[in-house]
């Protein structure tokens, strides 16, 4: 796996992707639900700014010609309009700006609120490659296959410096930080192959840290998922929840977090998405980041009513294992850990 760790650095190639990009295209392909919204704002802005620029330049050109040195025109001063004009051209832009702000902010918050039921893909970035992990355990390098028309949530983390996940055709970009998950989502609307760029400078081969997003219609995607192996992708062992369970057991988490354990530790049943109250009076909603942080730095956020006794697992759990562990704990939201234990015991 480590051998595959680095995408061989190759020059950018022309590919049959970018469906309708003519030589002088001005807009990139629109391939997500957000793309047309963003383009609409852009077009509105271009029209607005174009009109303002054209108006101003025409006025300047007109004045320069008409009031050139020596021309015989009326130069008698106009009085009494100054204040009115000033008020006019400061309030009108302000009102337009407020409308633009509301429009842009609304779409932005939409980009930040993942629709319920989105399928999740974990993205790991490192110098200078992208790695994707699907919920069924399939892993891909530098290439991501996604189904058409379904919301996809990306949970992203970096193993070294800051990277940024950017797919122009989706009008979507999010920095990928070390040691903390960031989220974004998209819903593809058009099958095809789209470029993925890293847009946060990340070192020598920053420019080569690209990839392809391949959008397949549902049927083809299912077919791909069942065979699942394109040249650069590889297949993990089993699904995440099972892997996560293995990690959970290997590190003996149940001995403290189980309901019948002697050591008192907070229960993990239904943890994901629930509100957690901390001993410093704060509260938060348990998300992937909280779970991750609680494993690696358990002393930072202590649940109200519990002692700070958990050891840190930093260095003992790889990012991939962490992903599966998080997935396992998420799964336990619908099924309690205890009953999963039993179910497993029963099978054995």
């Amino acid at each position: 796996m480590e051998k595959l760790g680095f995408r061989s650095i190759k020059p950018w190639k022309n590919s049959p992707m970018i469906s309708n990009s003519s030589l002088l295209a001005l807009l990139p392909t629109q391939a997500s639900t957000l793309a047309s919204d963003v383009d609409l704002i852009t077009i509105a802005l271009v029209l607005l700014c174009g009109a303002v620029t054209f108006g101003l330049m025409s006025a300047i050109a007109f004045f320069v010609v008409r009031y050139r040195e020596g021309s015989v025109v009326d130069r008698s001063p106009v009085r009494g309009v100054e204040l009115k004009l000033e008020i006019f051209w400061s309030t009108v832009p302000l009102l337009i700006f407020i409308c633009l702000f509301v429009w842009g902010a609304e779409r932005y918050l939409e980009m930040h609120s993942v629709p319920a039921g989105a399928s999740e893909i974990y993205v790991t970035a490192k110098q200078w490659m992208w790695k994707f992990q699907h919920a069924n355990g399939t892993q891909e390098l530098g290439e991501l296959h996604v189904p058409l028309g379904r919301p996809i949530k990306l949970v992203m983390i970096s193993q070294d410096v800051i990277h940024s996940f950017y797919v122009p055709a989706f009008r979507m970009k999010q920095d990928v930080l070390p040691d903390r998950y960031t989220y974004t989502w998209f819903q593809a609307t058009k099958p095809g192959k789209y470029r993925l760029f890293c847009t946060q400078f990340c070192g020598t081969e920053h420019a080569a840290m690209g990839g392809d997003i391949i959008v397949l219609p549902e049927a083809e995607f299912q077919q791909w998922a069942s065979i699942g192996v394109s040249q650069v992708s590889l297949r993990g062992s089993g699904d995440y929840v099972k892997q996560g369970q293995t990690v959970f057991e290997r590190h003996g988490c149940i001995s403290c977090h189980g309901s019948d354990s002697v050591v008192r530790a907070p229960s993990l049943n239904g943890l994901y998405g629930s509100r957690v109250f901390l001993d410093n009076g704060d509260s938060l909603v348990a998300d992937e980041n909280y779970i991750r942080e609680s494993v690696l730095e358990p002393e930072v956020k202590i649940v109200k009513g519990y002692e700070n006794i958990m050891p840190s697992f930093r260095g003992q759990i790889s990012e991939e294992e962490m992903v599966s562990l998080v997935e396992y704990l998420k799964y336990s939201k619908t099924m309690s850990i205890k009953s999963m234990e039993k179910e497993r015991g029963g099978r054995e």
Binding site: W12, Y67, E82, L100, F101, E106, L109, Q200, H206
Partner: protein, 529 residues
């Protein structure tokens, strides 16, 4: 007639220049040093543009390329743009325009120049030693834990130069408050003085935050103890917050002085008082203050909270109102003027056009949803080059031409001046306008190689940049030429208002024979035309 005893020929030894406390001589020391840095930074830009002619970026290696754009950014931002108008024209003109003999702290002024040179040497040493590859933004953890280039040396250079900036700002504020000639009330000041005051406030209040940020970065890099590196418990976004708390206001350090210069030029060559004086003057102050509230718009996709993003977006729209006011007022000043299209005026009109485009494209970046798409692409590059190069450098060159007779006592060839100004305007647009399209198509910044579908725009841009390069060599040549062969200038060949034109060209060592008394408002062109 050239006066026999002016600041240039009163004492000609090298020692008299290096130990001078005359603000006019210090301005010239700065002029020479920032021109040097401008050409170093420009050379880096030329290689970058040549490299991007082909998608594979075959001219230089990726490693070299990264060092080149970092060097271009660091030098242009801290060693050319930030000092440019304030230290050259500001130093020369602030005391002259307010009727003072010198700045309030002349020795401090000279010290500022030496600090600048010291910082410049550090950064220059870093370049000679092998350069730095973090980008001018020094983002952590790349800069503290991963880059193997000369981060510390470069950061030390920037850190030191920051103090030069602070001391210059401090000197200007005190001078403007305390040393105005009798009768020169605040609302009789030239707009240039207002803009220098606003710039100085930013220099004084923002630069120390950069200093401490770079210091913490250096400490983390040396001791491997976390402040910004997440592997050590730090938060890289804290670095970005601190960095942009300085660097966004620093953008206004780079544009406010240009706005001041352009206001002077337009009034002189439209033969009119500026329209809406109070609004133009106070909008500088408004920009300086509100400019401190908007830094988070550099971090919309950084992992900053979405709510903070919304707050910063709103505040960013607010700061564009005063800029809009200025543009409208300049245009209104032309109305019913008596317009003379001399070289400085051509630059000033070019400034208005390019700044308008640069400012309006800033709206795209303030709109959250659009910024997500164009952030860190060539759209941003084009936007800020329209402001910094199209705006600030045009204004700087316009100002240099406008006050060249006053500074040197010589007249430059007018036809060459206009030709160069037009060439620059054309070359600039060809260089940077295609980059807006490139950016919207998705071309990321800081890319050494790129997908072939972007090539056509890169080729256009490179072509434009060669014209731009030629355009910069022209004024450099004929201005030098004029020093020896130019005609002598009179005290006020432009027939301009303002105290600096009331003394001889070049001015005597102590500026004025007797302290002037001001009885009128600025831009008193009604009677003279």
């Amino acid at each position: 007639m050239r006066s026999s005893h002016d600041y240039l020929n009163s004492d000609v030894t090298i020692r008299s220049w290096l130990c001078t406390r005359d603000h006019k001589r210090i301005a010239l020391l700065y002029l020479i040093s920032i021109t040097l840095f401008f050409f170093i930074g420009g050379a880096a830009a030329a290689i970058i543009r040549l490299n991007l002619m082909t998608p594979s970026g075959g001219l230089v290696s990726a490693e070299t390329y990264n060092r080149l754009f970092t060097m271009h950014g660091v030098i242009m931002v801290w060693f050319f743009l930030i000092p440019s108008i304030p230290t050259v024209l500001g130093n020369f003109l602030v005391p002259l325009m307010i009727g003072a003999k010198d700045l309030a702290f002349p020795r401090l002024n000279l010290l500022s120049w030496y600090i600048y040179i010291l910082g410049g040497s550090f950064t220059f040493a870093a370049i000679v030693a092998g350069g730095v590859d973090t980008g001018w933004t020094f983002y952590t953890p790349y800069s503290t834990a991963f880059s193997s280039s000369f981060v510390l040396l470069t950061a030390a250079g920037v850190f030191i130069t920051g103090f030069s900036s602070i001391l210059t700002g401090l000197n200007f504020i005190v001078t403007i408050h305390r040393m105005r000639a009798p009768g020169l009330t605040w609302f009789r000041l030239p707009i240039f003085i207002w803009s220098m005051w606003a710039t100085s406030v930013i220099m004084v209040l923002a630069t120390p935050v950069l200093a401490i940020t770079l210091l913490l970065m250096a400490v983390e890099r040396v001791f491997k103890v976390g402040i910004f590196d997440p592997a050590l418990g730090g938060d890289p976004l804290l670095f970005q917050h601190l960095f942009w708390f300085y660097s966004h206001p620093a953008v206004y350090i780079m544009i406010l002085p240009g706005m001041g210069v352009v206001s002077e030029i337009i009034c002189c060559f439209a033969r009119k008082r500026i329209f809406g004086y109070a609004f133009v003057a106070l909008s500088s102050v408004a920009i300086a203050v509100i400019g401190f509230f908007v830094w988070g718009h550099h971090m919309f996709v950084s992992g900053q909270s979405a709510y903070a993003g919304v707050v910063f977006s709103f505040l960013s729209f607010l700061v564009s109102v005063p800029s809009a006011i200025k543009v409208f007022n300049w245009t209104a000043t032309l109305y019913k003027g008596n317009i003379q299209l001399r070289t400085p005026m051509v630059y000033a009109l070019g400034f208005i056009g390019l700044f308008t485009v640069g400012g309006l494209t800033g709206l795209f970046l303030a709109v959250l949803a659009v910024d997500v798409h164009v952030h860190d692409t060539y759209f941003v590059i084009a936007h800020f080059h329209f402001i910094m190069v199209g705006g600030m450098v045009s204004a700087y060159l316009g100002g240099i031409h406008f006050w060249w007779p006053k500074i040197t006592g010589k007249i430059y060839p007018e036809k060459w001046g206009i030709a160069a100004a037009l060439l620059l305007f054309f070359g600039f647009n060809l260089t940077f306008f295609p980059q807006f399209i490139l950016g919207y198509l998705g071309m990321p910044r800081r890319y050494h190689s790129y997908p072939p579908e972007f090539q056509i725009y890169h080729v256009m841009s490179t072509l434009g940049s060669s014209i731009l390069g030629l355009g910069y060599l022209l004024p450099f040549s004929y201005l030098l030429w004029s020093l020896r062969f130019g005609k002598d200038a009179g005290p006020n060949d432009w027939n301009a208002s303002g105290l600096e034109w009331k003394t001889s060209s070049p001015p005597p060592p102590h500026n004025f024979e007797s302290t002037p008394l001001v009885t009128q408002e600025a831009y008193d062109y009604g009677k003279s035309s």
